[in-house]
């Protein structure tokens, strides 16, 4: 009973807080692909409007907010290595006095996993920031749950 109540409350909070801006500059999607019976790759993709940036996972301290993908620990899979990304556009940002890696238009992050069950659901959380030349917008923290079959 208490659990149900909590779930309902969470749902309501969620429904209200979700930002319903139809022209949000960044949208995310995912995919999973089994590469063998015991391995799979998780893909997390950002589609980015013209002029907006999403930052690399490897932005150094003192720069913009990097993209961070966190996978929830599970008995049914284990991560192999870290999350890889394509080579970002790198630009010397005078304001940060450093090279900053970012993506425009689209980017796909990939995570290899080792499976210890025939199928599983890979859960986790995505943090990112998007800026254009004029401003930075509050990020949506996004939970994902990706079926691997």
């Amino acid at each position: 009973m208490k659990k149900l109540l909590t779930a309902l409350l969470l749902f309501i909070v969620f429904a209200i807080q979700g930002k319903a801006q139809i022209l949000a500059p960044v949208t995310w999607s995912y995919a999973a692909k089994k590469t063998s019976t015991t391995e799979a790759v998780i893909f997390i993709k950002a589609t980015i409007d013209d002029g907006w940036h999403v930052y690399s996972q490897f932005v150094k301290e003192g720069g913009p907010v990097k993209t961070t993908i966190t996978f929830a620990p599970s008995k049914t899979y284990a991560l192999i290595g870290s999350t890889i990304e394509p080579k970002p556009i790198s630009r010397m940002e005078k304001v940060f006095n450093m090279e900053v890696g970012f993506f425009e238009h689209s980017v796909i992050f990939q995570q290899k996993i080792k499976l210890s069950a025939k199928q599983t659901i890979v859960k986790g959380k995505l943090e990112y920031m998007t800026c254009n030349d004029e401003k930075c917008l509050p990020p949506d923290d996004i939970d994902f749950s990706i079926p691997v079959k």
């Binding site: 009973m1 208490k2 149900l4 109540l5 309902l8 409350l9 749902f11 309501i12 969620f14 429904a15 209200i16 807080q17 979700g18 930002k19 319903a20 801006q21 139809i22 022209l23 949208t27 995310w28 999607s29 995912y30 995919a31 692909k33 790759v41 893909f43 993709k45 589609t47 013209d50 002029g51 301290e61 003192g62 720069g63 913009p64 907010v65 556009i89 630009r91 010397m92 940002e93 005078k94 304001v95 940060f96 006095n97 900053v100 796909i108 920031m129 800026c131 254009n132 030349d133 004029e134 401003k135 930075c136 917008l137 509050p138 990020p139 949506d140 996004i142 939970d143 994902f144 749950s145």
Partner: protein, 378 residues
């Protein structure tokens, strides 16, 4: 306990469920023979959705529920390699999902398809065409800027010229967006465009009448109501209202109270070490501070730096030479002052007079200097 549950169950449809709509998407791609797969991706609050369908004799269909009209992408997998092997230039169509049935017709690629039967998608095409000229111009200038050779990025003439041209295109886009809103009071994209032109710093006097000119359907939609709420928050921080007061700690963890700044003109400046556009504006704030600091003016910086990142905050203060008082609770966008002022984008600032009244906001570049010269010479 049971009573609470009942109350929630009764309230539930009002807060969300009642507004969700079921969509149907039907497509016919004439030139496709054999089988293949197509993917539909979209985001509902806090969650990514990926759906796929088999192409059967050139046709496919999707069903689903969305909490409000939203943007989606349709991806065509021509080679049958899966969504992960679509290559750098995938055959993709951006479209919008709502309660209406969507029909898609194409000859070979989804990119060049024709969408019928759906008002929201027709409106999107119209809206995009309406603002296409400046949008294209802005993309061109951005590309041009990125292509400036490294040894010329210090050439003020070149950079200023690019900036000026960009600003002009951006202003042109905003003018067209206002025009679109006026012509299409019942379009989702009028609300979307209003969201964009209003920006993080809603000027209630300008924006509210335009919002009120939108159709009741749009105003009562979930995003319409959210926007109304943003206007309410903006009203509290509108020019002419008293600046909401707060206490937050400075870099030495000593509490700083906005009320203690009464008697002085103070620029309340929202920024963060990680925010490139903010850092780019900092030299200008420094210049203004130097110019007016002995004339009953000061700056109070509020930083949206992140938990555990005090070092980055302090390093940026030092690097940019910000000698005025700085506060932060290191809670990123959940900073209590950010919530209090309803800020949804940075940089952002408020000019507060000696009585604690807001007399200006979002003053960038020379605007700030002009405004200060005006008020301090009185």
């Amino acid at each position: 306990m049971k009573r609470i549950l009942l109350m929630i169950l009764v309230a539930l449809p009002i807060v969300g469920l009642a507004q969700s709509s079921t969509f149907t998407l039907k497509a016919r791609i004439a030139g496709i023979s054999g089988s293949g797969r197509v993917y539909l991706t979209y985001q509902i609050p806090g969650k990514m959705m990926v759906d796929s369908a088999l192409i059967n004799d050139g046709s496919f269909k999707f069903n689903g529920t969305v909490p409000y009209p939203l943007k989606a992408q349709l991806w065509m997998d021509h080679r049958g390699g899966g969504i992960t092997k679509l290559g750098p230039n995938p055959d993709m169509l951006t479209l919008f999902l709502d309660k209406e049935e969507i029909s898609i017709n194409a000859t070979d690629s989804i990119k060049n398809s024709i969408i019928t039967g759906s008002r929201i998608n027709a409106e999107y095409i119209e809206y995009k065409a309406f603002i296409a000229v400046p949008v294209k111009e802005m993309a061109l200038i951005t590309a041009e800027k990125a292509a400036v050779p490294a040894d010329q990025t210090n050439d003020q003439q070149i950079m200023d010229d690019l900036k000026l041209r960009y600003q002009k295109a951006a202003e042109n886009k905003i003018a067209l967006q206002y025009q679109y809103i006026k012509l299409n009071p019942n379009s989702e994209f009028s609300l979307g465009a209003l969201h964009e032109v209003a920006g993080p710093y809603i000027d209630v006097a300008t924006i509210e009448p335009i919002y009120n000119g939108l159709s009741a359907d749009i105003r009562n939609s979930m995003s319409g109501q959210q926007f109304a709420k943003s206007i309410e928050i903006a009203r509290n921080t509108a020019v002419g209202s008293m600046a909401p007061v707060f206490i937050q700690n400075d870099v030495d963890d000593k509490p700083v109270n906005l009320i203690d700044f009464r008697g002085k003109y103070v620029l309340l400046d929202f920024w963060a070490s990680w925010c490139a556009p903010c850092r780019a504006e900092n030299p200008n704030v420094v210049k203004t501070y130097q110019q007016f600091k002995d004339k009953n003016f000061t700056v109070l910086g509020v930083s949206l730096d992140r938990p555990g990142k005090k070092d980055s905050w302090i390093a940026a203060i030092k690097a940019d030479g910000l000698t005025w008082t700085q506060v932060s609770d290191l809670k990123f966008w959940d900073n209590t002052v950010v919530k209090l002022y309803g800020i949804t984008g940075i940089p952002q600032n408020y000019l507060i007079d000696p009585a604690g009244k807001i007399i200006g906001k979002n003053l960038k570049g020379e605007e700030l200097e002009r405004k200060l010269t005006e008020v301090l010479s009185q």
